[in-house]
Point group: C2
Chain length 251, copies 2
């Protein structure tokens, strides 16, 4: 897989605030047309989790949620709204860490993340926004809708905190049309020695790059076109990026 000599990242201008039920593919197509951009092979559209979730109606009014006794106890321990904690737990397989102000879980999709990715920025008072039901499937639907003649990729990104390092960085929670992970095992260096780094988190690097244009809450520029990449490996969804528990040295 050759590395590109040049990459261009373009935040799609003029995307409206996304509402439940919106057809995101149509909104993106309109924005592309207004910017006089035509998708070409190798283009990757990176969409913020937030707008995908909104379009898919993953908004919940917190006052419609009845927290269980368990959720109330966890809420008390971490100092969060019991209704929010109920949502977090209902989206999770297990709690990884809890501490005042902190609730890190294993999301039902396998992500280890704070608050099950539930977001209250830019969603309106008393509302919470869940991750898409199946972000890989969302990415694939968007890809199928957007790719007319050209072979393109779609990445849905979110900002994750990381162990050991401060700050959040963009990662891919959904991907379609490209290899979320690139396996270069078997390739050799300039001296004929097998490469040491052989599994590249391609979709995560794309997600992080696009985050530079989106800003922290993806408020103004939630869709970014990445132009100049190429890939030959078969497409893999973003769930390929999640380490199986048995292979993880850090659980």
């Amino acid at each position: 897989m050759a590395s590109p000599a040049r990459l261009e990242l373009i935040a799609l201008p003029g995307l409206p605030l996304v509402r439940p039920g919106d057809d995101l593919a149509v909104l993106v197509k309109v924005a592309l047309a207004q910017a006089e951009l035509q998708l070409v092979a190798g283009d990757v559209l990176v969409l913020a989790q937030k707008i995908v979730s909104k379009a898919e109606g993953r908004l919940v009014r917190l006052d419609t949620v009845s927290p269980s006794a368990h959720a109330k106890a966890v809420a008390e321990a971490v100092g969060k709204d019991p209704a929010l904690v109920e949502l977090i737990l209902s989206e999770s397989r297990r709690v990884v860490r809890q501490r005042p102000g902190v609730l890190i879980v294993e999301h039902r999709l396998g992500f280890i993340m704070a608050n099950a990715g539930i977001d209250q920025s830019n969603v309106g008072e008393g509302m919470a926004l869940l991750l898409p039901e199946d972000p890989d499937a969302s990415a694939e639907r968007l890809r199928a809708s957007l790719a007319s003649s050209a072979e393109i990729g779609v990445v849905i990104n979110d900002s994750f905190g990381r162990p050991w390092r401060l700050g959040t960085a963009g990662v891919a929670i959904g991907a379609a049309g490209l290899p979320a992970i690139v396996d270069r095992r078997g390739e050799v260096d300039l001296f004929g020695r097998p490469l040491e780094v052989t599994m590249i988190a391609f979709a995560d690097e794309i997600a992080a790059a696009a985050s530079l244009l989106m800003g922290p809450a993806a408020e103004g520029q939630p869709a970014v076109l990445v132009r100049g990449l190429s890939w030959t490996a078969p497409a893999h969804p973003a769930r390929a990026l999640i380490r199986a528990e048995g292979e993880d040295l850090f659980r």
Copy 2:
């Protein structure tokens, strides 16, 4: 801090293979001139750790290393060359995890990483390449040398594996001239609600973006110009990205 509408990433063409003692700033200046690129304010040069280490003479011949009894025991346990393990341990504060084929340490600079970042790809038979002595200082020297009139940033990147997620992604091990981490605490969303994600790993996202052009062993394109970013926060070195042990939920 406004997010850019467009970013361009350009791999500097024609950079020669870097050798110990080379003046990397001069090599970069020549490559920029040959590509008819002039640095402008907001430009960030991302340099692969590999070429910074090589220029700084951080190559070690493994047959000059005398492994200690402890290094021999660890080497036996993980199935690695005792001389290499001696180097890894001498660059580390402690071993985080060891297992056949795996040696994850806390590097003396605080990074949690495999093999203390010591690399044997593209360095020649029987050789090992250590991380720069002080990558933030390396970045600052390069920045001072490269920034003539324009305010630019320099990032030194490397590929790290991550807990919970497969594959490696580019991260910043050195930075100068830009805020490695951007603190947006106190800012609000479109509804006036405080932002939830407030600390952005700016230099890591830049590092990951540049990795897309460098390839897995940074063999062919180890220097990437990122054009279009802007920042107002004061510069912070990459060591600001390392979580203090007491603040880390995952140690």
